[in-house]
Amino acid sequence: MGFDWVFFTELIVGGLMSGVMYSLVAIGFVLIYKSSGIFNFAQGTMLLFAALTFVKLTEGGVNFWVALPVSMGTMVVFGILVERFMMRPLANQSLLSLFMATVGLAILIEGLAQYMWDSAIHGLQLADFLDLALLDPVNMTIFVVDYIEWLDILISKFDIFATIVAGTMILILAVFFQKTRTGMSLRAVSDDHLAAMAVGIPLSRVWALVWAVTGIIALIAGLLWAERVSVSFTLVEAVLKALPVILIGGLTSIPGAIVGGLIIGVGEKLGEIYLGDLIGVQGIETWFSYFIALVFLLFRPSGLFGLKTIERV
């Protein structure tokens, strides 16, 4: 039996699709790190909180087009509160303290999400909502959880949908950063806090904005993840998958988050199957993604697209 090319291609495709999902989480990380130097560990719990809010609203009978903006609003308010009560008092503290504060925030949200809603596993079928939402019911089949086979290669339709959403989101973010005034002030802040303040950019407002935008990204990522793996407590662990992704890409680069996601997505699948077959043991993907990241970092210590830090005594 020769090399199974069909299977290999499927593996690559499946890996790329998983990679897109990792990138979605990673983008939220990068936004916050870029603008305030905080390694935001709470990103995973924000995902859970946002998705859970949305699911509980729709389960309570709220219409999709109402539930979506309400959940977005919740995340925006949440972002502003975080800026006011956590970021501002913690300004100028060591990076480690800030990191730990976000871990504290993660615990807080974890308790809050389960307290406000519950800890059961909820299903989410976006197709059900989009069925009502889209005008042309014939095209609906695109969004139903199903697959297409093309040259014997299986591709999940949902994964294609997720990729389109992710692509759109990145496009919007790019336009937002490059063309709008707020976006430019954001970039200014990320380049140099002091200089930005000196030219009159309100730092705290920019931070609040970043947290709000991150909240919205968390909602979108959360919904897609929820469709894929259902809404439950384990969404929090999505964040751990995103860690090697952002580290490969470099903490400050959005393109890096995407490339990193794809590398990890494909790499861990290849490792699990081929390396796993080679040594006859399974479950390698739990640590293999970190190993890949380690190899990349050994050659580029600040990630593929990260800013090179120059150290002076």
Partner: protein, 363 residues
């Protein structure tokens, strides 16, 4: 006037560098240790020993190990539970596969050393990778440890699930029989843990006062500057990884042997690493005693909270509400503490001591 410096005159450099510059401290520490050794085992119930004191000692060792790495040398690690896992499994295997003369503390030290060597391997990337990027190396250690021991059942003596640690592993050459003491009782386990932890804490304290400890701190504060003034940065970092992982390994062994009495993989999952990182940070990075303050707070907080829920409200709320409110409170507490006192409990305690020393004339 309980906490005075009056009458203490330092006449030599040696005296200035004493562990306890204030006599009261020395006496308080001595009384505390005597109390822990000679009184506690006789008055504490099994519950207090098994569910509070022993786990605090085991966690404390690991937190101390992490503190040596993160607090003293500035290398952030999220692999603590993984290193504990190595320590616990190696201890078990040494006990299982070595001849009669092996005893538990010796096995722990050996296992700790092996864990230290593994720590060096996972610490090697720290030569090139810095800051948050180093997380990836310690996370790899964490997940690798779990995967490794799950995939190779040899290390679990081919048990499918968990191994119950047999009582005879606790026996030291029949000493228990000679004195008529059950060496596998919680009292004996407590005293063994206390002995190991005290020795390790004392060693850490002295390490910090030595040239090696000062090298650690120089690397933490700025490794380039440290290398400029001639400190061997790479060797210092590797030594820090070795010592830290040694402590974590011993902590893991205590965790399984003295506390849980079973060996299994689930014990060392990712959230245990975070728990211990919290212990080190809340206690105070770079403080030996702080590691233990942090351990007590982090370990006892949810338990106290559920007790309070039980006793104040007589079970009016179900455990989900209590647990979630505990989480919310805990999160707020951490953020508040980081805002008010980034130095952690140790810094709070130092402030209090300073106030006591100068009281009633603070100026």
């Amino acid at each position: 006037m309980i906490y005075r410096e009056t009458g203490t005159f330092i006449t030599s450099y040696l005296e200035d560098r004493k562990l306890f510059p204030i006599p009261f401290d020395k006496w308080a520490m001595a009384v505390f240790m005597l109390f822990m050794v000679f009184v506690v085992p006789f008055i504490a119930s099994d519950y207090w020993l098994a569910a509070h004191l022993i786990p605090i000692l085991a966690y404390g060792t690991a937190a101390l190990g992490l503190n040596l790495l993160t607090g003293m040398t500035g290398q952030l690690s999220l692999g603590t539970a993984g290193f504990m896992c190595f320590g616990a499994f190696f201890t078990f295997n040494i006990m299982l596969r070595s001849p009669e003369w092996m005893n538990l503390p010796l096995a722990m030290m050996l296992a700790g050393s092996v864990t230290g060597v593994i720590g060096i391997i996972f610490g090697l990337p720290s030569i090139r990778i810095k800051g948050f990027y180093l997380l990836v190396s310690t996370l790899a250690a964490q997940y690798f440890a779990l995967w490794f021991f799950r995939s190779y059942p040899y290390f679990l003596n081919y048990a499918t699930a968990t191994v119950t640690l047999p009582d005879h592993h606790f026996d030291f050459y029949g000493i228990g029989d000679v004195f008529g003491v059950d060496m596998a009782s919680f009292e004996a386990k407590y005293l063994m843990s206390l002995g190991v932890v005290s020795a390790l804490a004392l060693f850490a304290k002295n390490l910090m006062r030595s040239a090696t400890g000062r090298n650690f701190m120089a690397v933490r504060d700025m490794d380039i500057a440290a290398s400029v003034i001639g400190i061997p940065v790479i060797r210092t970092k590797m030594l820090a990884f070795f010592v830290s992982c040694f402590y974590c390994g011993v902590g893991g062994a205590l965790f399984c042997y003295a506390y849980l009495q079973v060996l299994g993989i689930r014990t060392f999952e990712m959230n245990r690493s975070f728990e211990i990182l919290f212990m080190a940070i809340i206690g105070g990075l770079g403080s030996i005693a702080g590691s233990f303050y942090g351990t007590v707070l982090v370990y006892e907080f949810p338990i106290l909270f559920s007790w309070a829920g039980d006793y104040l409200f007589g079970g009016a709320f179900d455990t989900a509400v209590v647990d979630n409110v505990a989480k919310i409170t805990y999160g707020i507490l951490i953020i508040a503490l980081l805002i008010r006192e980034p130095g952690g409990l140790a810094a709070l305690w130092a402030t209090a001591k300073q106030k006591l020393r100068t009281w009633p004339f603070p100026h």
